[in-house]
Amino acid sequence: MSEQLTAAPAEGGAAGSRPKIEITDLSLTFGSGPSAVHALGPLSLTVGDGEFLSVVGPSGCGKSTLTKIIAGLIEPTGGEVKINLAGTSIAPIATVFQDYGIFPWKTVLSNVEFGLTVNGITGSEATDRAEMWIKKLGLAGFEKRYPSSLSGGMQQRVSIARALAVDPEILLMDEPFASLDAQLREILQEELIRLHETAGRTVLFVTHSLEEALVLGDRVLVLTARPGNLLDLKTVPFGRPRTAGVRESAEFGAMRLALWEHLRDQVQIGAPEAGAAK
């Protein structure tokens, strides 16, 4: 992959002094020739250390693609992403995939332990950590089951637990709560807020719920229809510590409506362009 390790310049500062993710002129085109699809960018953006960035945009605009590029799974076709890590976590980056990406051959427990195991944390330490997240996500009692006997929402929760269990420096979440009921969703939102605020983790959170984007995010990145470009980057005015209660405020409703209007024009019928990316 296009991954390259560079020692961080010895600026002596705390990890927080530099942005966590620096995205510069990033673009991605799938395929080539007449069937090419220009999916994303060019996009430039900086995510601060400890920032919670919500990402919204029309279906098919490149949100999952952006997530995968940052996760190192797709090589960009233009521009670059710099990720500055402090090296303090069990795993530097953890991802919750839109299609869950959990392993059918591992039990719920083994799936959740996975990120720990491959990072050298094993035995009862791994089990205890995993068990904790399994409980938090309402999956207790299903530890020994295989994913095929879980409901869609339960599978999604396994995927979330797997990512949270490694307490990563950067958490990439691609519509992580889409299959969860409203109540559970709210509980997990609170959990995520707590994690972000207390542990200072950087989060990139893709969602289709404008409400959710606002409740959780420090800023909201709004992408255009495909190819996903920066349409807006809104700073959320609600302070921290924050609770899910903010959604009752009038300001919240106004912001939500503003985002809504902003995005309305983007919902359009898109066809794949002919020719490669510009």
């Binding site: 992959m1 995968k68 799974l73 980056i93 990406g101 392993f103 051959w105 996975f114 490694v166």
Partner: protein, 286 residues
């Protein structure tokens, strides 16, 4: 049922069997299926027996199954059949073990690395269809005249089956699983252990089932040529001496050995892939 239904009608979804008797029904069905699995070959053997007894087929060339079974039992009592079975099984299993181990490792390596695949696949494709028995002298020169050349031929043959299937199984692993692991920066050995191995295992077990049959067939064919002992030698020798009952006893022995070995692989396969949901399902109403 695919054309448009006309006229009003009612669909009913219900369980026809009370819950309490489901286990019993399941047991009964299992028993029925096992009986059916035995009944079909038993019927065919019976047909042959009757045909031979009534002279519909020439029992000089196709002796009645009963005669072969009796002869087979005599050979067991003489201790000959058992020692041939032991010799053949040893060759089959050792050859199978060596060939499938190397085939699996090779298949995984070639499945995981495009460059290794492109470098070696054309050559292996060619060697795959080299008639192995035709290069027996090479094996004899290298391995001498003991069990070793047979085991080598079996290993080489098994290798190809397991290699191709494993390689294709690895290449076919859904990218989502690789991605999920890669996103944790997993690669190399950990990728193999946590993703490649379990994801390809169901296919590989099918390949192993095929391969253990191949190993048996090739062992027997080799014993035809490199004679001395084993079920293949028994068949070959009996045939060239016109002991047809003995030959058929040997052939049946080979078939049964095959069933046992395939069954073993199937059972092991189910054991090592506990997450696979196995088709109790009727597909498409059949």
């Amino acid at each position: 049922m695919t054309a448009t239904q006309t006229g009003a009608y009612t669909l009913i979804r219900k369980n026809r069997v009370p819950l309490e008797s489901r286990a019993a029904r399941h047991r009964r069905r299992r028993r029925f299926e096992i009986a059916l699995g035995i009944a079909v070959p038993a019927f065919l053997i019976g047909l042959w027996e009757v045909s031979a007894q009534l002279g519909w087929i020439n029992s000089q060339f196709f002796p009645a199954p009963s005669a072969s079974i009796i002869r087979g039992w005599e050979m067991v009592l003489e201790g000959r059949l058992t020692s041939d079975i032991a010799d053949t099984s040893y060759r089959v299993l050792l050859g199978f073990f060596i060939g499938s181990t190397i085939g699996f490792v090779g298949g995984v390596a070639m499945g995981m690395s495009r460059i290794i695949r492109k470098a070696l696949e054309p050559m292996l494709s060619a060697i795959y269809t080299v008639p192995k028995l035709a290069i027996l002298p090479i094996f004899l020169t290298i391995f001498g005249f003991s069990d070793a050349p047979i085991i080598a031929i079996v290993s080489v043959t098994v290798f190809f089956y397991v290699w191709i299937y494993t390689m294709e199984a690895v290449v076919a692993i859904p990218k989502g699983y690789i991605d999920a692991a890669s996103s944790f920066r997993v690669r190399g050995w950990a990728m193999f252990r946590h993703v490649i191995l379990p994801a390809s295992l169901p296919s590989v077990m099918v390949a192993l089932r095929i391969a253990v049959g191949v190993a048996l067939l090739v062992t027997i064919a080799s014993e035809f040529i490199v004679g001395g002992s084993g079920v293949g030698y028994l068949i070959f020798n009996a045939r060239s001496l016109f002991r047809l009952e003995e030959a058929y006893a040997g052939i049946v022995t080979a078939a049964l050995l095959g069933v046992v070995m395939q069954g073993l692989i199937t059972v092991i396969g189910h054991r090592v892939t506990p997450w696979v949901v196995r088709g109790d399902a009727k597909i498409g109403g059949l």
